[in-house]
């Protein structure tokens, strides 16, 4: 007997209705949860993850929010984000450099304590940690940039002379002194935040930022000719004609050099 055209039995109708309702409810609740999960990925710039933490997306799939890393940290650097207080995914560990920086323990107890690998146990040398990168964000207020010798951020750095160096430059203001510019080298900076913590200014002029904010990147096809040349030990393109460089001197359009003449192209006059 064909069932085509016969109305659904009440039980069957009810079952279908219930299933549809349940599925609809699940999609609604699931979407809400998925939205929360996306939201949770937005880590504030001043919140740094412990050493060895996986990239943020993987971290949220791995960290079970047990707090064992927090307990093992001898400097009370780490804390678990509190619901509605910290803008970090609730219950996950983080630290704020300006409050308590990471002291870069040799035995990395936080990583050893993590039961899930959310803090990568492959990190066996704390100098390889990448919690962020320090950036001298405020050159107008940094004392060294003003020509003074503060140097504090440089001196406190646990990876001094590798992660941060003082680069000298002529002080044009005084005309006769040097400026010692604190310069961070991202390859060696662990992002521990000791420099930010120690900056003598009321608001630190050097700050540890997450790598995504701290760093640019060069295009893949971009090669540095001088590096290529050095690696090859010869000019990159063989047999290239090296044209003479135009140096200031007689016969060039350089008025400063003796014998120079006016350039043929004149800039248009600017009238007020």
């Amino acid at each position: 007997m064909s069932r085509v055209g016969t109305p659904l039995s009440p039980q069957r109708r009810r079952f279908l209705q219930d299933s549809a309702r349940a599925a609809g409810g699940c999609v609604a609740a699931g979407s809400l949860l998925a939205w929360l999960a996306r939201d949770a990925r937005a880590l504030p710039a001043e919140a740094l993850r412990p050493p060895g933490a996986l990239p943020e997306k993987d971290f949220l799939s791995a960290c079970i929010r047990c707090g064992l890393c927090v307990r093992e940290c001898p400097y009370d650097t780490l804390k678990l984000a509190e619901l509605g207080v910290d803008a970090v995914a609730t219950g996950t560990p983080y630290f704020t450099a300006r409050e308590v920086p990471c002291e870069m323990c040799d035995d990395i107890p936080c990583v050893a304590a993590c039961p899930t690998g959310a803090l990568d146990p492959g990190l066996d040398n704390i100098d390889d940690a990448k919690m962020g990168v320090a950036v001298l964000v405020d050159q107008e207020n940094c004392l060294n940039f003003l020509g003074l010798r503060c140097d504090v951020c440089y001196r406190v750095c646990p990876v001094i002379d590798e992660a941060i160096t003082l680069e000298t430059e002529h002080n044009a203001r005084s005309g006769s002194h040097a400026i010692f510019i604190p310069t961070v080298h991202a390859d060696h900076c662990t992002g521990c935040g000791v420099c930010e913590k120690s900056c003598v200014l009321p608001e630190a002029a050097i700050k540890v930022l997450p790598i995504r904010l701290a760093r640019g990147s060069s295009a893949d096809h971009y090669l540095k000719g001088w590096e290529e040349k050095e690696a090859k030990g010869a000019p990159v393109v063989e047999g290239i004609i090296d044209l003479p460089d135009r140096l200031p001197g007689p016969g060039t359009d350089n008025l400063v050099a003796p014998g120079g003449f006016e350039p043929s192209f004149k800039l248009p006059e600017v009238t007020q």
């Binding site: 219930d18 349940a22 409810g25 699940c26 609740a29 699931g30 949860l33 998925a34 929360l36 999960a37 996306r38 949770a40 990925r41 996986l54 997306k57 993987d58 949220l60 799939s61 791995a62 960290c63 079970i64 929010r65 047990c66 707090g67 064992l68 927090v70 307990r71 804390k79 678990l80 509190e82 619901l83 509605g84 207080v85 910290d86 995914a89 609730t90 219950g91 304590a113 993590c114 039961p115 899930t116 690998g117 959310a118 146990p121």
Partner: protein
């Protein structure tokens, strides 16, 4: 139904067994819940580090790792293969609850349980309506949804809202606004849906129910022939649909539903001592008394 169903809840049991006897498992349960909480709090409060961590993951005496298997499962589905320590911890917890009784977690460990229990108590005292009662399978649907969302977003999804670990973590590491979450659950259970959270929504309870569906520890209505239909057990049981098959059925007197939380309130509240804790292979019933007629009301019962 008899006049007995209109007597104050538990009065007969107290008369028959005394107040302590009628609250034995309730008190034991509160003691157990407190014990597990205090274990975790001894460290941060008094510097006695027996257990570190939270219910989501912990380390006892620096030796025994424990991991919540539901969190672990979400982590797996989200695409992370955890380190051995975490995996061992999850296996230990899984096997323990699968053997003893899945929702033993709910009644004897979970810190939300006292909250929803008190909501239920007040609900009863105020004589409120049942309210919204979603279908039995709802929490299983939610559980599946949580797992799917974990897979799709690559994050341990339920931990973003899980009030159990939030409350536990809150007590140990710092509360934040978790109290609002707890208050919301209390009010939900009180005003919106009786037994709403633990009985219909919580996917953690659903998960523990599933893993414990073949577990050993069971409540048995072994003495069911003595039941005098006072209905008190139905009133106190947080999952009272589990009672009828055992109490009124003709087969096994064991409560085999995975929904039973092994809280033992039915044992406490029954003046006739119909129920007892036993193991799942003990399907014995107490032989009915000589006269198979309904038991006579006892003299001690004040009508």
């Amino acid at each position: 139904m008899t006049a007995r169903t209109h007597m104050p809840l538990g009065q007969e049991a107290i008369a028959a067994k005394g107040w302590l006897g009628a609250h034995k498992y309730l008190l034991l349960r509160r003691a157990s819940q407190l014990f597990f909480l205090v274990l975790f709090l001894l460290g941060p409060w008094f510097g006695i580090w027996i257990v570190q961590g939270t219910l989501a993951g912990s380390l006892t005496l620096g030796l025994l790792p424990l991991t919540d298997p539901f969190v672990f499962l979400q982590s797996l589905i989200a695409g992370h293969w955890p380190e051995l320590t975490g995996a061992i911890g999850a296996a230990i917890v899984l096997v323990a609850y699968a053997l003893i009784g899945g929702r033993v977690y709910c009644s004897w460990v979970c810190p939300i349980n006292p909250v929803t229990d008190s909501a239920h108590w007040l609900h009863r005292k105020l004589g409120l309506q049942k309210g919204w009662q979603p279908k039995r399978g709802t929490r299983l649907w939610i559980m599946v949804t949580v797992l799917i969302v974990s897979g799709l977003t690559g994050a341990i999804a339920w931990e973003l809202v899980n009030p159990i670990t939030m409350l536990h973590r809150g007590l140990i590491f710092g509360m934040g606004f978790v109290w609002a979450m707890v208050a919301a659950i209390f009010l939900f259970d009180l005003l919106v849906s009786r037994h709403g959270w633990c009985g219909h929504v919580c996917p953690v309870g659903a998960f523990y129910g599933l893993i414990g569906s073949k577990a050993m520890l069971r409540v048995s209505a072994a003495n069911r022939s003595a039941c005098d239909d006072c209905m008190d057990c139905y009133a106190v049981c947080p999952e009272n649909h589990v009672i009828s098959p055992a109490l009124k059925g003709k087969d096994t007197p064991l409560i085999l539903s995975p929904d039973c939380t092994n809280c033992g309130r039915c044992i406490d509240i029954c003046a006739e001592d119909v129920f007892k804790f036993t193991h799942r292979f003990d399907a014995l019933t107490v032989a009915p008394p000589e006269s198979t007629a309904a038991p006579q009301p006892r003299a001690s019962r004040p009508f």
